[in-house]
Structures are given as structure tokens and as C-alpha cells.
Symmetry: C2
Subunit: 275 residues, 2 copies
């Protein structure tokens, strides 16, 4: 459930029923073969992750940015320099197994390939970061409606007036995702997501967008506007766009990320991240 | 509640009643003035932390070791290179405010000063790591007896047959602390500490030391033997000695740690780490 600072992600369709039962390995094989579609709804029940890849010179700053800002940047795994393997899916190849990538040079988006094997080098370190797809499943399981899924749209995301704690060359605002939650379900939404700190955890704010510096919920900075039903309250969670926005603003010479909505599908059940 | 790979820590006395009510700033001022006593029982209700300081060249490996082994190495804060300030106690000076330090050169213990200001340099990065003192308070609050405190001894610690996940040049076994827990309190002990993942969290094992490769509970690798009462069961938690043992085994050219039991007293209430 991510976008980048440069682009508003296209609307993501709700889970097609035909995907039910596909395994993470099946999904990754299809992406490896060239399928370039958003991963929403793939391998239901398995965790999907944000990908950020930077040169080794930037790796300490990135890891420290996560340590200091665990709600927006929950680090699920960090690779050894040069490695394209992760414990989250031992058979996967991080260079080819995502549906689509983005390539950044000096902070500018330069390409959106479906494979980055040719760009990989021994100098690169990959960060896999928790994603709110996991807690959306948990919300649905708990009977909390998720309006962006109902409406077939990407979630709404906003820059806030809260600064992340800087780490070396990396700094930037907290970016949040917002979901309209029926008032009677707000407590359940807090409790369910609070038990999943590795996929952003409990909300950072409930109900008053202006106190986060958000003037108009209808004009998100990333993603799509999402309609409110009568009695819905805006609930805000820390968002995985935060590290990408900080990274791009600091203009490293080279970086690779996933393309918005085109996540890494892991072998880890969502339930592994429920406390 | 730590020792180092090189030394068995001396027994630590139980909390003296006279310390009740002392603030973290009071405690640090006494240490800064030269008092060199174990910090057990100081500033009750406030979090104490393990300290590890390494050159910048080793900082990524140390931070990654924590990311990959969060139970034994829960990172509470990491300083900017050269800084001796931490958000855990903004007025504290990490070079002088611990009761006693250890200085390591090429993996060998070379000194145990009460101040390391003269040894500090712009190249050093400090790691503050969660400590089981915090959950011992929570256990007592929940009515679970803590035998090592009752007996005025340091907790028993053991090397296990479980390897930590390596990170760069750092590798080593999981070290655990063991507390005898009355059988009827084991569930409470699991639940209470499970709510405190930043201070080692839930136990890693209950009841069968041989499956961890521990032959004789009466002969701990670090700390003191602790007596069992009738009906007590051995309960094992990941231990903050783990990163020190790995660091010393890998022999960095220079490192500073706290001396066993002589922790950093923070301004953060223990309750801040209870979920």
C-alpha cells in the first residue's frame, strides 16, 4: 500500500476471487516471468513488503532511520551487502520476483522495469519493510469495513506536520495513510492494528486531520481519495511511503524500490506478525 | 542485568529501601561524581539500559545484529556518530554518567574506568539496549516472585546451543538468563514479559534446559547460581549479554561497554515499554 513522493499511484482493484488459494511461490513465479500487475490480493494471508535498495554507503543511515522511526519504517529484513536473498522467502530472488520496480538516480525516477538483475551489484543492501496490506486483512477478519477495498481504490496518503527523527542524511515528514472507519468500529481498529507493530501498528491519530496539518482529506498527497460513509471517522496510520519520501528527498546516487502497489510477496503468514 | 563473556559478575544486592524515590537525574549525578556501585534498584520504575560503543566502521554490523536478533538485542536508542547524547535522557552525558565502564581493545578487557570522556571521539557510535531489570519490576508487580532478587544474587546466565543470526562480522550463540518461577506463575510470567518486547519480551524456553544445550543449571556461564524452591520451573529469557559476547568474540579494535550490573539509568519509565 505505497506510492512514492513523485507519483500518485493508480487505483488498485479489490481482490479478485480467482486469486484465492494462489501461493506466494506461484505469485512470485508469475512476476518473474514478466507479469507486471499490482500485488493487491495475491497470496491471501501472506505478508507483502515494501522494498528499498541503496548502496552500502547509505545502508547505516537507512537502518538507523528505521530504528528511530519504527512505526512508519518497520524493518522486516535487511540483506547482507550484495545478496538478493531474504529470510522472508528463502527461494525468492529480489532482483526479479517483484511485479515492477522503480530505479532512482540522484533522487530522480529514471525507469520502471520488471527486472533489475542487470542493475544489481555487490554494493547494494536491500531493506524489506512492513506494509499495511497485512493489517487490512486483520481488520476485515475482525469485521471492520475497509472503504478503500470496498471502493476498489488505493488508500489515501498524506504528508503530515510531524517530522520523523532524522538519521544521518535522511530526514522528512511522517507520511500517514487514512482509512474511514465507522465510529462504532474505531476501538476495534485500534486494538487489532495495535497488535501488529511490525506492519505499522496502532493508528497515530484519530479524528482531527487539521492537527496533523492535513487541510483537505479529499486531496491526498499520494493514492486516491476515498469516500466516507455516514458516521465514518478518519483514522490515520504511519505509512510505508515515509522512508521512500525521505530517501528520495536526500538524493542518493542510486536506489531501487518497488513500484507503488507492486509489492514483494513473502512466505510469511500475516498471522506471524499478530501479537 | 548483564555480564561479559570474560567475567562472572559479582552478586548484586537486592534493592535497598533507602533508594526508593531517587530520581534518574539524582542517580546519574552521583555516578558522574565518581560513585561506582551496581545500579540495581536505583531510580525504581525507570528503565536501565546496556551500553555498547563501537567505531563507526562497526556500527552497521552492530545495528544489523540488533535488527536480526531483536529478542536478545532490543535497541532502545542509537546515537549519531560522535554524540554522547541520547533521547532516553536528554541531559545525560554517556561518557561520565554510568557508574562504571569497561574498555576493550582487540577483544581484550583493558580497563574499568568510571569515566570515558578522554577516550571518546567523533568516530564512536553508542547503542543503548533494553535490560531485564525492567521486566523484573513488572513480574514483581504481577505477584511473580523473582528468586535472584529474593536471594540477593545476580541472575544466572547461560550460553545456549542456538546461534544468533549473524550480521557482517558479528556472530555468536544466544545467551539466556534463567529465573526459577513457581509452576502456578509460569503463565503470568509469560504474559507479563510478552507485553514488553523492547526489554527482551516473552521467554524463549520453559522447563527443559537440556534442549537449549545447558547441562547444569547450577553452573551458569555468567552471573550467580540461584536456588530453586520446591515447585519452581526454570524459565529462560533472551539476555543482553548476547551482543557483548558476539562483539568481543569478533575483536573490534576498540569498544566501550558498561561494567556488569553498572547500567545506564534513563529518564524513561518502565511503563513506557509495556504494551
Amino acid at each position: 500500500m505505497t506510492a512514492t513522493a513523485a507519483t500518485t499511484a493508480a487505483a488498485t482493484p479489490a481482490t479478485p476471487a480467482t486469486l484465492a488459494g494462489r501461493t506466494p511461490a506461484d505469485a512470485r513465479a508469475r512476476y518473474r516471468a514478466g507479469l507486471a500487475v499490482p500485488s493487491s490480493g495475491e497470496a491471501p494471508g501472506f505478508t507483502q513488503a515494501n522494498l528499498v535498495v541503496v548502496p552500502q554507503d547509505w545502508a547505516f543511515d537507512m537502518l538507523l532511520f528505521g530504528q528511530r522511526n519504527p512505526q512508519p519504517v518497520p524493518m522486516l529484513d535487511v540483506t547482507d551487502p550484495g545478496s538478493f536473498r531474504t529470510v522472508l522467502a528463502p527461494d525468492a530472488d529480489l532482483r526479479s520476483d517483484l511485479p515492477r520496480y522503480r530505479v532512482w538516480r540522484d533522487g530522480e525516477l529514471t525507469d520502471e522495469p520488471t527486472d533489475v538483475t542487470d542493475l544489481w551489484s555487490d554494493d547494494l543492501v536491500a531493506f524489506l519493510i512492513g506494509c499495511s496490506f497485512s493489517f487490512e486483512t486483520a481488520l476485515l477478519d475482525a469485521g471492520v469495513p475497509v472503504r478503500n477495498i470496498e471502493q476498489g481504490r488505493n488508500v489515501s496518503m498524506y504528508r503530515t506536520n510531524r517530522a520523523c527523527r532524522p538519521a544521518g542524511r535522511l530526514s522528512g515528514p511522517l507520511v500517514v495513510s487514512m482509512r474511514p472507519v465507522p465510529g462504532e468500529h474505531v476501538v476495534t481498529a485500534v486494538q487489532v492494528t495495535g497488535r501488529m507493530p511490525q506492519v505499522h501498528g496502532a493508528p497515530v491519530h484519530v479524528g482531527a486531520p487539521s492537527s496533523l496539518g492535513i487541510a483537505d482529506l479529499g486531496q491526498p498527497d499520494f493514492g486516491d481519495p476515498v469516500d466516507f460513509a455516514d458516521g465514518d471517522v478518519p483514522v490515520f496510520w504511519a505509512c510505508g511511503v515515509t522512508p521512500q519520501a525521505a530517501l528520495m528527498a536526500s538524493r542518493p546516487p542510486f536506489a531501487i524500490t518497488h513500484a507503488p502497489g507492486h509489492m514483494f510477496v513473502t512466505d510469511v503468514p500475516d498471522a506471524a506478525y499478530r501479537q
